[in-house]
Every structure is written in C-alpha cells, then in structure tokens.
C-alpha cells in the first residue's frame, strides 16, 4: 500500500497523462482549499500571531464574542429577512415575466431579455450611485425597501433567464393535454407547467437567495449603515482588523446557509440547468 505512494511507482502505474492531471488537481486543491482551511483554523483560534502556522490557543472564544455582540446577531437576522424578502418578491415579479418570454412571441422580446444583462454590464458602483440619487428623492435611502430593490436588480437576470428556459422545456403538448383533460388555463399552469419547471425555478431561487446574502456594496451604499447585513458588518470588522478571528467566524456563518442550500438542491444544480438559461431563442 505505502509502496504505491512512491511517486515513480505511481507515475508508471497510472501513465503520464493521468499523473500530470493528478499533479494539476493537487495544486488546484491546495490553491482552492488552503485559504478555506486557514479560515477554518482561525475561527477556532483563541490566540494567533501572524507569522506562526498554528494558533497558540484553540477554543470558541471568538464565537462567544460574536454571539455576545447584539449588533452582530441583529445583522444576521437582518440578512435573512432581506434575503427571504428579496427572493419572494423577485419570484412574484420574475416568474410571470419568464413565462411570457418562454411562451409568447411579441416584438421586443429579445431586447427585453437582453435588458436584464445590462445591469450586469455596467460597473455596479456607478449604477448604485445613480440609483441612490433617485432613492433620495423617493425616501428609499436607508430603508429595507431600498436595499431589497438593489438586491433584486442583481438577481433579476438569473430569476428571469433560468425559469424562462425551464418553462421552454415544458412541451406545449403537455399543457394542451391538461386542457384537453378539462383543466382551465390557470389550473394547467399550476398543476402541470409550474411543477415541471420547478427544478429551474429552484436553482434561480437559490442564486437569488445566496446573492442577496452576500451582497455588500449596494447594501452599504443604499442602506446608509442603518441596514447592517452580515457582509456589511463584516466590512466594518475587517477594516477594524483588531481581531481577524471575528472575520473568520463570520465567513463560516455566511457559508452555512449557502452550503446547506446547495446540498439540498444538488440534484438540480448542474452545468445544463445553468447553461440552459443563457440560450436565446
């Protein structure tokens, strides 16, 4: 067994191509996971000084600190409230839009679809600044509504394109068969079309939720520090940098919901589901 770990034996056992792939993968994994591991370590380090590899003292000191700070706990709650609200509201707006794009032919359909790309084409900060000017006028600065609108702008492209491709994949005959069996158009949509498009919609919802959870720039600008979501709070901590461990604890807290959701929906998340959303037809 250990004999096989000899690099020369390994090289000849698997062949040149596989060996090089293995090396590449090993480097990649190291590159990818090393910072993650470091962060994981820092979160459980009671005391740590920069040049040393391992912390001096392990423990949950900083976890206690984070959960002891009222403002930090409230930022978590705010993050979740905003993420859930953003997801629900953008579903209400985007799913009908996605359905109309998938099923009906009308002039300007393609332009409409491309318009969602526009918000991603401009530098974000520029858009946020100009939006802020409008928001001041309408009194949306520093409000939940304002922040949710900003988050929705970011998620719209996913929320329209992915469900639209999911709706396109529902065959017309399947809808017609439901009508034929006696279902009204509305019932056909809820009993046949929507359940069949659900995987695509679920992926879009996931992106929206996760996107909203980690959005910081816009929230900071439009929220005027009154709305403190987790990423915004993290900015403050990182800039303070009195204890990097707090940042690490926060990062792990941010990862948990993402990791959970991705695990639950792992069946639906794949290159096809995502690539399907970017087909223009």
């Amino acid at each position: 067994m250990f004999k096989m770990l000899n690099p020369r034996r390994f090289y000849h056992a698997v062949g040149k191509k596989k060996f090089l792939e293995f090396i590449l993968l090993a480097v990649f994994i190291l590159f990818f996971y090393e910072p993650l591991l470091n962060m994981l370590m820092l979160a459980f380090a009671n005391e740590y000084n920069v040049p040393s590899v391992l912390p001096k003292e392990w423990g949950f000191k900083w976890w206690g600190y984070v959960f002891g700070q009222k403002s930090l706990v409230s930022s978590m709650i705010q993050s979740f409230i905003i993420a859930i609200a953003t997801t629900v509201i953008s579903m209400i707006f985007c799913i009908p839009a996605a359905y109309s794009l998938a099923r009906f032919q009308y002039p300007g359909r393609k332009v409409f679809m491309l318009s969602f790309l526009l918000t991603n084409a401009f530098p974000k900060l520029g858009i946020y600044t100009s939006i802020a000017v409008l928001f001041y006028k309408y009194g949306l600065m520093g409000t939940y509504a304002g922040v949710i609108i900003i988050h929705m702008i970011n998620s719209m492209m996913f929320m329209v394109w992915l469900p639209s491709s999911a709706f396109r994949n529902v065959h017309r005959q399947q809808e017609e068969a439901a009508r034929d069996a006696g279902a009204s158009p509305v019932r056909t949509f809820f009993k046949v079309t929507l359940p069949m498009a659900m995987p695509g919609i679920a992926v879009a919802t996931l992106y929206t939720f996760l996107g909203s959870m980690e959005e910081a720039q816009g929230t900071m600008l439009v929220g005027l520090a009154r709305i403190q979501t987790m990423p915004v709070a993290m900015y403050g901590i990182v800039l303070d940098s009195s204890a990097i461990q707090i940042g690490a604890v926060f990062a792990i807290l941010l990862i948990i919901p993402s990791a959970l959701l991705i695990f639950v929906m792992r069946k639906y998340i794949g290159p096809e589901a995502i690539a399907g959303g970017f087909k223009m037809k």
């Binding site: 005959q173 399947q174 017609e176 068969a177 009508r179 034929d180 069996a181």
Partner: protein
C-alpha cells in the same frame, strides 16, 4: 344501408394561417362508431383540422358540430373531445395513476369510482399494475397506451389521435394498431386518426380522407381508394403504383395487376432485377425508358433471368389525363 347517426360534421370549415397556408372549404360527416383517417404528406393540413376539432386552434370560417351541437366557441377543456398527441402526452412529475386520475378528479368523480375505472382501463390497454410508476420509467409504446387510456377515461364523444404511433418502432406500431382497432370496436367510440403512413391508414380505417395541399383529394373506404384513386396524387401516395405513359394520358396500374408472360407479345419489356421478398417476387422490367414494377409468383420468377424478354398484360387500371 340504414341511416347512421352523424357524430362529427365539418361545415365549410377554414383555418388560414398568416402566411396564407392552411385549409378551407372542408366539409365532412363522420358517423358514430367510425374510424376516419386523415392521410397526407406533412404540411397538407391534416393536423390543422384535428387541432381545430380539439380546440387548440380557432377556425377562421365555418362550423364544427359534434352530436349536432356547434363547438367552435368552446375552449378545449369544455369540448367533448379527447386528444392523443404524437409524443409528450404524459406529465412526467405525476405517477401513472395521477396522470389517469387528473381529468376525473377535475370532474369531481368519487375516489372509489376513479380507482375502479383506472383499474378497468389499465386492463383494457394491458398495463395493469403500472399505477405507481412514473412516465419516465415506461417505454414509448407503453406511454402511448397510457395516453390513450387517459383519453378514454374522459369518455369522449370523439377520440382524436394525432400520429400517436409515429414515434414508435415498426413492430410496436403494428401491435398498437391492432390493439387500437380492438379497443375501438369493443367500446364503439368514434375515432379521428391523423397519419402520414398510408399502411397505417389502410389497416385502421373505415374511411380514409386523402389530403394534399390543404384540400381533400378523395374520401372513401380503403378499398375504394386503393382500387380507384381519384387523382394522380392519391394513386402515387397509396401503395405501389406504376405510371405508364400512353399518348396523352397516364395509365396507373398496381404491380399485382400486371400479368407477366415469358416470350414475345404486343407489350414487350426486358427484365432488369428480380427480388425475392418471401411469398412473392418483385420484378422490375424496362420498357423504352420506363421502369415497371410487377409482383409475380415464385413459379414464374424461377424461370426468368435478368435480360430476358417478357410480355406484359395490364389488368385493372386507372387512366389519368396528362394534365392532371
């Protein structure tokens, strides 16, 4: 012949698309318990007619009557028709039971009755025990059986079938044809069938409507259409046919209606190929620059070689003027 009840009547019906294609002046009566097939090449308008009957397309003009009642203003869910499509009939997120029960639940049929009817229907289409499966676990032929069962459960006045077997392979297609014919005669329902497969049309139908470019070429029993085609298109579309030029007209004659004799005679030809196809032999002969196909029996073909001189005698045939 006794007076039969008219099930479906198309009255000067028209459906025009924006690009000018479509069908018009469609008049047809379908009687109760009949299988009528619309047969024609793709794009001839046969599916268009079926979809207007099912309610998936509006008519531009005319009327459609089922049991004497006009249905043109009803949406598909209110029509007394049930349709089976070429594919994608079933809803993949529902079990077979749920697929079958869908329409019955909408009609508020009690659950016990639904269970009993589904059981009976699955037996009829020889799919008992599949209630808990999902459509994705079934073969194409099985899926179409379930689709037919779902339509039959709705007890439609009229069953519409839009090329339901064309996505299946040849052997299963033949089997499904026989089963459909049996189910139809057991239940006595009226069926409108659409296909581009002339063999299927001949095998299934009581009457065939041969269509071409949005028009009816001929309406008749399979026998009538085979024996006396009304137009050149019908003659060429249904079965094998030889077209022999004769002055200003064309003689259409089936390969089995040509008698072949060895030796000289008034209509001489040269044997080109001899193909054994089991119980009969396909012979192609050349006469001038025309190639004529004949079916002959083994006894004669055994005496023939390629290049031999034969004499043809034309039996039953139809004459078309050249202009047609």
């Amino acid at each position: 012949m006794e007076e039969r009840k008219v099930k479906l009547e198309l009255k000067d019906m028209a459906k025009k698309y924006d690009n000018g294609d479509g069908v018009e002046h469609i008049n047809l009566k379908v009687y109760e318990g009949e299988i009528v097939t619309f047969l024609g090449p793709s794009g001839c308008g046969k599916s268009t007619i079926l979809r207007t009957i099912g309610g998936f397309m509006d008519v531009t003009d005319g009327d459609i009557l089922v049991d004497g009642q006009s249905i043109v203003n009803l949406p598909p869910e209110k029509r007394p028709t049930a349709m089976v499509f070429q594919s994608y009939n079933l809803w993949p997120h529902m079990t077979i039971y749920e697929n079958l029960a869908f329409g019955l639940k909408l009609r508020k049929v009690p659950k016990k009755e639904i269970d009993a009817e589904i059981k009976k229907m699955l037996e009829l289409v020889s799919m008992s025990g599949f209630e808990k499966k999902y459509p994705g676990q079934l073969s194409g032929g099985q899926q179409q059986r379930i689709a037919i069962a779902r339509s039959l459960l709705l007890k439609p006045s009229l069953l519409l079938l839009d090329e339901p077997f064309s996505a299946l392979d040849a052997k299963i297609r033949q089997q499904m044809r026989e089963e459909l014919k049996k189910i139809q005669s057991d239940l006595g329902i009226t069926v409108i069938f659409v296909t581009h497969d002339q063999e299927e049309a001949m095998a299934l139908s009581h009457r065939i409507v041969v269509m071409n470019k949005g028009k009816f070429d001929q309406v008749g029993t399979p026998g009538e259409i085979y024996d006396s085609p009304a137009t050149l298109h019908v003659a060429s579309f249904i079965g094998e046919m030889n077209f022999i030029r004769n002055g200003g007209s064309t003689i259409a004659v089936r390969p089995e209606d040509i008698v072949v004799n060895k030796g000289h005679g008034p209509m001489e030809a040269v044997v080109r190929t001899i193909m054994m196809l089991g119980h009969y032999v396909v012979l192609t002969v050349q006469r001038g620059n025309e190639i004529i196909k004949c079916y002959v029996d083994r006894e004669l073909s055994d005496q023939l070689r390629e290049g031999d001189l034969v004499n043809l005698t034309i039996g039953k045939h139809t004459v078309f003027s050249r202009a047609a």
